[in-house]
Amino acid sequence: MSLNYEEMSWSDVRDQFRKWREESGRHSEDVVQLWVAVLEDKVHKTGNERHLILEQVIVAALDTARFDIATKCTKQLSAEFPGSLRVMKFKAMRLEALEQYDAANEVLDAIIEKDETNAAPRKRKIAIMKARGLRLDAIKELNAYLKKFMSDQEAWQELCNLYLAEGEFGKAAFCMEEVLLHNPHSHLIHQRLADIRYTMGGVENIEIARTYYSQAIKLNPHNLRALYGLFLCCSYLANSKAVSLKRKESQKLAQWALEQAMEHTARHSSIDNNDKWIASLDSAFGNLEIKSN
């Protein structure tokens, strides 16, 4: 993402930061550069957003190892909010970024002791486990966390990713379903759930995947992954041992999905012969199935 630092005014930067905060995007490099180039001197103009922006910059600075910026901003926050647990969390994050995990855990435990209902330090502890490579411990802790904080979508997403990394697709699908409950109209989540079901394999799972891909396409007809996914599911079902009427249906649906994908790509793609590569999907299917176990 190329941003023109010279042309952006401080209010443009502030708006961009707000957009990134809302989308939970991780553009750490850009945040730090924009902060240093534009916003740092003008941040007092941003009014109530100032603290949110400072927090955003601290996290981005820790992410890109700019400890000078992180310390400076944390000092500003702690001067305004002395003894705040929220600011203490950043102290723990700084230790985490320096890989001093035991010290970081001590700070986090202190925060949790002072406030049992505070979710953030618990999640940081899980993040530390993940960084140390203790994925199974992270999964265990995250499960315990979710028993207490059941509606934390971010945590369900993270647990889903952890299960996928461990190859536990059934449990990952369950987590993704929890996220779906909170976002029933998100085409991305329907599609991700379908991806997991397809990976699990077997006629039942692929039929479920086909349903989710179809829903994703209904919500967003340009979701290329869902179109391809629908093609894969229908082709599989068309070749499976089902009733011949169902197989014909699947075959037609597969053709439709592939045509949609081809049309959507052809309209925008700059790759030469892109339609040839997509057309090859039709003939190659069946040879390159990657089985999960």
């Binding site: 490579g133 995947a209 992954r225 391809y228 996914g229 790509t265 700059s270 790759i271 999907l281 390159l288």
Partner: protein
């Protein structure tokens, strides 16, 4: 036992892909000339695939089929798979994401190579090639370490360091970018040309 030689373009694109998404695991395919010269497999290009959700297979299957057709038309063959683990310290083959793709590639190309990016060595001052390369030993049915080299090692490493400092890794496009927006070219024609031009300058 197979030996591999990575072209500047292939190596640069692998490192770019890993550097573009420093907090995520990435993977991709390696292409080689169809005709091997002697016993060394020459990896001439790398096609970056995904940077999110590497564990699920449908898009990987789509990508493999399309890239197979693409390689065929360009006189190349899918000769390997590269992956960069998510965790900074993971550089063992057991921790490599989506290793099944490598197995699949090896079924179609006996001398397939499995390259793992060693995250610790990916830096702005590239001193050593940041890869660990494995080839498949059919007698023991597992991947074992293989020798590899870069074409013009010092020049490649210097070039990569310079380009990383300039932030050039943002120009590499992977299959995920293409699926998000079909305008994105996963064959990276523009980048390939730029890299070729740069190489001529030396």
């Amino acid at each position: 036992m197979c030996e591999y030689e990575f072209s500047e373009t292939a190596y640069t694109k692998i490192i770019f892909h890993a550097a573009k998404y420093p907090h995520q695991a990435v993977n991709g395919l390696l292409l080689a000339e169809k005709k091997t010269k002697g016993s060394i497999v020459q990896i001439t290009d790398a096609i970056p695939l995904f940077h999110q959700c590497l564990g699920v297979t449908p898009m990987a299957e789509i990508a493999l089929m399309q890239i197979d057709a693409y390689a065929e038309s360009a006189g190349l063959v899918i000769a390997g798979y590269y992956a960069a683990p998510e965790n900074f310290y993971d550089n063992q083959i057991e921790k490599a994401p989506a290793a099944k793709i490598a197995d699949k590639i090896q079924e179609n190309f006996k001398n397939a190579c499995f390259a793992i990016v060693d995250n610790k060595l990916v830096s702005l001052e590239h001193k050593r090639a940041a890869l660990q390369v494995y080839s498949y030993a059919s007698d023991s049915n597992r991947w074992s370490k293989a020798k590899y080299s870069l074409v013009n090692t010092s020049q490649t490493l210097e070039g990569v360091s310079l380009l990383l400092k300039r932030g050039a890794m943002r120009d590499v496009i992977d299959f995920d970018n293409h699926l998000d927006n079909p305008e994105n070219d996963w064959t990276n024609q523009f980048l390939n040309q730029s890299l070729k031009d740069l190489q001529k300058l030396y």
